[in-house]
Amino acid sequence: MKLKAITTTPPINVKRLGIATALASAALGLPVCAMAQDASVIRIGVVTPLSGTYAGIGQQVKWGLDLAAAQLNASGGILGRKLELIYEDEEANPAVAVQKAEKLFQVSKVDFLTGTVNSGSTLAVGQVAERNARLIATTVSFADSITGDKCSPNVFRVNARAGMQSAALADWMASTRPNANVFYLGPDYEMGRSTVAAFKSAAEGKGAKTAGEVFAPLDNKDYSPFFGQIRAARPTVIYTSVAGNDTVRLFNQMSEFGVSNNIQIVGASGTVTSQNLPAIGKAANGFVTGVGYSPLLDSPENKKFIADFQAAAKTQPDLYGADSYGVLFFYKAAVEKAKSTDTDKVREAMRGLQWATPQGMKTMRAGDHQAMQEMYAVKVNNTQFEIVGKVAAANAIGPDTCTKF
């Protein structure tokens, strides 16, 4: 034990003060930097999941955006100004997405923002956009509510929404398997249930019958407890809205148990994607879903797009990459029409806008900010998404349920 006699006044804890000052200056240095930015550049903020379960989707989003930005910059940019993309990781968590979005709007002073993947993040970031008088567009989120009852004047959607996907699938099913007996299996949460409900009403509207319905917990490991029920119902079609890892397990286990023999499996667009297809393997063959894009689309624009994408990213694009590629052209068309990046002018220009994408021409419906496009039914065959059906844009889009503007 040591005795220390203090005879002088206690010294200020210099080290602590130093650390505090350093932290404070670091925290404050950033806005000072931001103010000294190049005003002739158009900055696009991208809040997308770069880590976590959705990192695969975020990666496709990034590839699509990077390719589009590179091409646009090579041909002179927008209104003569170059594009700059600024990325932030939202970790598929709306709380983080909101924080990062605000950082991009306030500190990086972006003119436009995109990249959110899950609908919770899109909705929350849309609010931030309203507060900051900026526009955002989503290229992935397919929840109907985003351009439906929770629509916002500052939120646009360039990808297909769930209702459109269901319409394409229901149409295909009615023409290939009229009066099918459908068993529904979905993950027990809001999105899973509403996707099943949406397809069910579309299908029943075209004459399909319901053989049964069961909801498994999200992240369920083992679906074998449900197979007895499925067998007993003797369906001709099974519709599922599981996604990601759940799909891998469901499909592999169905194949293990022979449940899927002689039954047509259909599902939501997020059920089988390029992120989980390699893990599902052969068990995915024959699966049909409704989507807004397939790499097998036979058009010169798409072929060129795929070649460019392959060269830059060393892999094929999927619908997330394609839609993310298209969004910058959407923005370009709007800004050129408005002759400005001012939010209100661009919003006005975006309404009713038509622009070219790898999937053909899309039209942005003014009433709810939902893009209209031709929809496809695709079938998985040896890791390829073959096109087996088409529905015209006007038939797929569904009614405008947005009442906020």
């Binding site: 924080q99 605000e102 929350a124």
Partner: protein
């Protein structure tokens, strides 16, 4: 040797008060600087850090002062947030009503949760706390009326006083800072009262406490309810800041982060968790901008602290500071005693 929760009866109170003053002082300096440059983002980020610091404070009340490790404290935080959002959206945009309702709700749910969890100690308590959070967050995740997995947007700003509402970055920052100060000061004072000593006694040796005629069960329950209220009130502030709530606020990630903030900051010091939250919020934001694998960095930092520095940053700084400040409380050196080891 390594103690996380043992604290002698003569802990360096003076140093802790000094460090607390420093914390709030620095926060005020930050506020002045940010206000002069007209900043919005850093104010809101700072407010968010303070809100999560409140959650960390509630964890420290249980972990550092009562000896119970809660792995599901985000439950009360998230519920407070949802209650506040519902009140603001559907009933009244008054800040005070939202906070009051959240407080009452937290007390009631804290009581229920406490009755379930308090009988257990150690890892059992931790797992029950974890499990409760999992179950309730799953229920909310599935409840359409609460926005289900998308959460609820469109929460209006809260009116605090004429001319002061939660949408104002600087104003709300100061309001949250004041609330945090009241919570901290209240807890610090409470620790000096007989109740506070009872908590300390529960942590060091529960059995002996009952021989003294004090019911440890009631003490622990009171601490649990108190912690639930602190977490709930902190949570209630979140939708006022961000205008939305989502089930992710109740997920294990939030509970886990709170525990990390407390351990790194300094368990049992009450001010340590505040420092820890502030530091780690900044760190997560900065590291997250450079790499998607920020969890590795935070995880390694956490492991290092647990092994090398289990008393946390403030736990290390405070005794050293106490000596430098000159006057000592009671004993010549501040020994870290095991109350039940022979000395």
């Amino acid at each position: 040797m390594h103690e996380v929760t043992s604290r002698s009866l003569g802990h360096p109170a003076r140093a802790l008060h000094w460090l607390a003053g420093l914390f709030f002082g620095l926060a005020l300096v930050f506020a002045i600087v940010a206000w002069t440059v007209g900043d919005v983002f850093f104010f809101r980020l700072g407010t968010e850090a303070l809100i999560f610091a409140g959650l960390a404070l509630s964890v420290d009340l249980l972990l550092g002062r009562t000896g119970l490790l809660p792995l599901g404290q985000a439950l009360f935080f998230g519920m407070g947030a949802y209650v506040s959002a519902l009140v603001l959206k559907n009933w009244s945009s008054s800040f005070w009503i939202a906070i009051a309702v959240a407080l009452v709700f937290s007390a009631i749910t804290g009581l229920i949760g406490g009755l379930i969890a308090i009988r257990s100690k150690g890892v059992y308590f931790a797992l029950i706390s974890f499990g409760l959070a999992q179950v309730v967050s799953k229920i909310i995740f599935n409840t359409r009326e609460l926005g289900a997995s998308d959460g609820m947007i469109g929460v209006p700003v809260a009116q605090i006083a004429p001319g002061l509402e939660s949408g104002q970055p600087a104003g709300f920052f100061l309001v949250v800072l004041s609330i945090l100060f009241i919570l901290y000061a209240g807890l610090a004072y409470l620790m000096e009262t007989p109740f506070g000593r009872q908590l300390g006694a529960v942590r060091t040796n529960e059995q002996r406490l009952s021989f003294l005629g004090v019911d440890p069960w009631r003490t622990k329950l009171a601490a649990f309810v108190g912690a639930a209220c602190i977490a709930g009130v902190s949570g209630a502030l979140y939708p006022m800041l961000r205008g939305f709530v989502s089930p992710e606020l109740m997920f294990f990630q939030v509970s886990g982060n709170a525990v990390i903030n407390v351990i790194v900051g300094g368990t049992g010091t009450l001010i340590g968790p505040l420092y820890g939250s502030a530091l780690l919020t900044v760190l997560r934001s900065v590291v997250g901008s450079y790499t998607a694998h920020h969890q590795i960095v935070i995880g390694i930092l956490f492991i290092l602290v647990v092994i090398v520095l289990p008393r946390g940053l403030i736990g290390l700084a405070a005794p050293a500071l106490q000596e430098r400040l000159g006057r000592r409380e009671g004993a010549v050196r501040t020994p870290i005693l095991h109350a039940d080891h022979p000395q």
